[in-house]
Amino acid sequence: MAKRIASISVFTALALIFSYIEAILPFNFGIPGVKLGIANIVVVVALYQLGAKEAIGISLIRVFIIGLLFGNILSLIYSLSGAVLSLIGMMICKHLKLSVIGVSAIGGVLHNTGQLIAAAILLQSGALIYYFPVLLISGLITGILIGIVSFSINRVLDRKKAV
């Protein structure tokens, strides 16, 4: 139990640091709304190393703390809806036995989808749907990149566990 709580804390701290790095040094692709989301590496690795409940906890704590530190209520709502939808999708995909890369790719896509849905509801505007294909592709690409990194981290951690 103590080990579990310690692991969750370390993962959460890491996720916060990654979010902070991305807040001060954004990896911009020149497309509005598109970012790498390196904090999601932590969430994906946690999903595999600790479990679904732990990954949900880490992700939600991260969203709330980052929202309080750097954002406002609007950005908090966007991140929260993205994070929740992406977590649900990743859990389903993991259950369907997709690999880390596939799980992360779907997570990235649904993260953007959740944010777009939140924005459309908040702004009462359907015009945003024109941006949906762009966000699908960008979520797919960033999700695959995050998945490749998570795959490597998982391999190292699994090997350590086996020893």
Binding site: S99, Y131, F132, L136
Partner: protein, 116 residues
Amino acid sequence: MNKRDFIAIGAVLILSAIGFLFFAFQPKGGASVKISINSDVQGTYPLNENRTINIKTDGGFNTVVIKDGSVFIKDADCPDKYCVKQGKINSGSIICLPHRMTVEITDQQQPDAVAR
């Protein structure tokens, strides 16, 4: 990577391809046509709906037609008829100076203000 990954990634790619194609064939859905006289807005109309608008001003009349994603002045009783000669536009504006009327295409599609 296994077969299921490729199915999932393929599904997303197909979905976004459908999205791109769908929106590519919709003529500028977010844009709208703003008609004003003496800089008083008379009305705003979506650019992707065909319609004919008759504008009456102190100087005379203009017939504004929105068709297939572009807008033009079909007829006017101004002396120079520059507005009619300007033809179809899908961006920018048409101005009828004698009637002090402007037809302006405004792009209300601004996702970058939101998707931060």
